[in-house]
Amino acid sequence: MTVQASSQSQFQIALRQFRKHPLAVWGLRILFVLYTVAAFAGFFSPYDPNYYELYPPKGYHPPTRIHFVDPETGGLSRPFVYATRRTLDPVSLQPKYEEDPSQGKFYIRFFVRTPDQPYTLFRVFRSDLRLFGVDPPARIFLMGTDNFGRDLFSRLIYGAQVSLTIGILSALVSFVLGMVLGGIAGYYSGRPFTLSLPLRAWRGLGLLLGPLSWALWGGLGLGALYLAWSYYRLTGLGFFQVLAFLAAAWVGVRLVLTLPFRPIRIDADDLVMRAVEIIAAIPTLFLLISLRAVFPTNVDPLTTFYLVVGLLGFIGWGGLARVVRGIVLSVREMDYVQAARAMGASDARILFRHVLPATASYVIVSLSLTIPGFILAESGLSFLGLGVTEPYTSWGLLLQGAQQGGFASFVDRPWVLWPGFFIFVSIMAWNFVGDGLRDALDPRRRR
């Protein structure tokens, strides 16, 4: 039964449905806060993430204690901190920090300027205004410091920029790949593309495309032969080398026998789905590491960042492509698509106007649910030292730093685990948002 009186758009209905999911709403709020803080990292962090002092060193400084009670009067006061003094534990040789009230109280001040540590917002606006800070020589380390004495809180915020955007960017890359490839696979399923022209079709436009297609296939054949040859050159003669050569020869002979007489047709669906299966069959982490190994490690940090985005995206598109293909296959047979064909609409029009929008709700949901996976994957990669590199930082990289010193590091310096906490929170938030979106966009789950 249709509802005539309510003229709400699909979007309004979805929004109302989303609001009914309290966890999702909270997830969205948390994400909003996390992303805002990450976007205005310079403003929210009290220090430059790479700033540290050689003397006095502040390595592994615990979180600074914030006092609210004035020790002299016993009454409440504005929050303040004390400067600290460093000593070495004679037994473990670990640094210890003690508050030093003799240097006086250092009140926490808001909207402070730090001319010695300027930052840029969105790579454009230069500023040195920070949300809070204390006057030197005291320091405020909300979450302690790392081994060099860099403020972990500031590094966390800057790490969030990488960790959080890498999730979204990788998801977008895999989304584009998955949509396009899945869409093509589904829409052209059962309608193979002609990828070569036999001699008798070399007429008109065929005169241009024919030789082009031959060149393509000839190149592929020669490539196979060359691979077999290099294999032999590198390893000498053996059973597998002969096998590779035979395989390459077979491909060549088949091409020679086929090209002039019959067109080669390839079903895009087969091609894409086999590719998806191959990617899915290799363990993700192994694939990530081996793909990473193909590229040099000593490139500049920004390139590494994009490299990681590309790799994660490349690995993640399979599942999406598979589902998009399924949806497209079913939508393709819907009467409204048939109606569009009966009107004489072009393939592109049908695909973009009728078929792909039908996948939108699924894609949005799946996007929001894959982002946490990418955040995790990036952390894993950085943890192994294959992800982003200094001076950039990410939550995974910070965790890697945390593990230095083994088990003792967790016992003596528990604050180094903060990045783990943020990974956890952001992933839970994304998952809740994804759940909420699924409930909101899937009419079957509506209550």
């Binding site: 005539q4 309510s6 758009s9 039908a358």
Partner: protein
């Protein structure tokens, strides 16, 4: 014949069945197997049959929404069977389709106005958006809806209203020929009559030619000038509507007509209940495809495929027995 708009000769559509690891063709579903008929300008040809008879496939093949396996389709004297896509486009303006399911035939993400304007856009009818909007409003009025409905989405309409939207979309390009594929089967009883009346009015007003596909014999009889009865991919009988219903010549038509329940408890009649089910179109019976359920079947029926031959003026049947009915 003069004034013939559509002529279909020996139309065949076999859907391949793939199986095995290499997805080789292992057989085929003979959905349509040698169907011939013609429709004159301004005529309504009814096409009835049960599920699996191939009537829907005929309708879609005629419009080249499905590529035929064999046979010829002539539209206004021109062979359109093998026209490439680009050359087919002018014909797409002249022939349209109305679907059975009013829920899957409209894109749920488009407004009614966009849905009806789409064919105008594709064929470049109406240069400015304003012209197109006017045309859409005109079409909505034509099918008995209000132009205010333009901004709404399909889900806000009832089945009957959606069917009207589908009809408006088909009429947008001012076609001469429309395939109506079970246009009322999915509608409520009290709405069916409205849509049948609308189609009848539009046909007269716009001089449309219709191929009206349905399984409801009463509706087909009501709207059609001539009726073709299909069974398992073949035409069994083709005759003027009243003639066919009053005087069925084919045993299948006879059984089909007697199976329709009459909404009058006082009417008592002899019913021929066909035994068994429709055989599989993958492996249809030899000779006459109906012989397995026919009460008049002879051993000869398995030998020859009966031709569709004229048994009375304008009345054709595909049955070797002339001694019955």
């Amino acid at each position: 014949m003069n004034g013939v708009l559509l002529e279909v000769k020996d139309l065949k559509k076999h859907f391949p069945i793939r199986g095995g690891v290499l997805s080789r063709v292992v057989g085929s579903v003979k959905a349509v197997d040698g169907v011939s008929f013609s429709i004159r300008k301004g005529e309504v040809l009814g096409l009835v049959g049960e599920s699996g008879s191939g009537k829907t496939t005929v309708g879609r093949t005629v419009l080249r929404l499905i590529e035929p396996t064999g046979g010829r389709i002539l539209f206004d004297g021109q062979d359109i069977t093998e026209l490439p896509r680009e050359k087919l486009r002018p014909f797409r303006r002249r022939m349209q389709i109305i679907f059975q399911d009013p829920f899957s035939s409209l894109n749920p993400r488009m407004t009614v106005g966009d849905i009806i304007a789409e064919p105008l856009l594709i064929h470049g009818i109406g240069k400015t958006p304003k012209e197109r909007t006017e045309r859409v409003a005109e079409l909505l009025k034509l099918v008995g809806l209000s132009p205010d409905h333009m901004r709404r989405y399909p889900h806000e309409f009832s089945g009957g209203q959606r069917q009207r939207i589908g009809i408006a979309r088909a009429l947008a390009v001012a076609p001469e020929f429309i395939v109506a594929d079970e246009p009322v089967s999915a509608l409520d009883v009290s709405i069916q009559a409205q849509v049948v009346n609308l189609l009848q009015d539009l046909k007269e007003e716009l001089g449309l030619t219709l191929l009206f596909i349905a399984h409801d014999l009463a509706v087909v009889e009501y709207i059609s000038d001539r009726v073709a009865v299909m069974y398992l991919g073949k035409v069994m009988e083709l005759a003027p509507a009243r003639e066919l219903y009053r005087n069925p010549k084919h045993p299948y038509t006879e059984a089909l007509l007697s199976a329709v329940p009459i909404p009058d408890p006082t009417v008592k009649r002899e019913r021929i209940v066909l035994q068994g089910d429709i055989p599989s179109p993958i492996n249809p019976p030899s000779g006459c495809v109906f012989r397995t359920r026919c009460r008049y079947a002879l051993p000869e029926c398995a030998q020859v495929v009966p031709e569709l031959k004229e048994v009375a003026p304008g009345h054709y049947k595909a049955c070797i027995r002339d001694d019955i009915l």
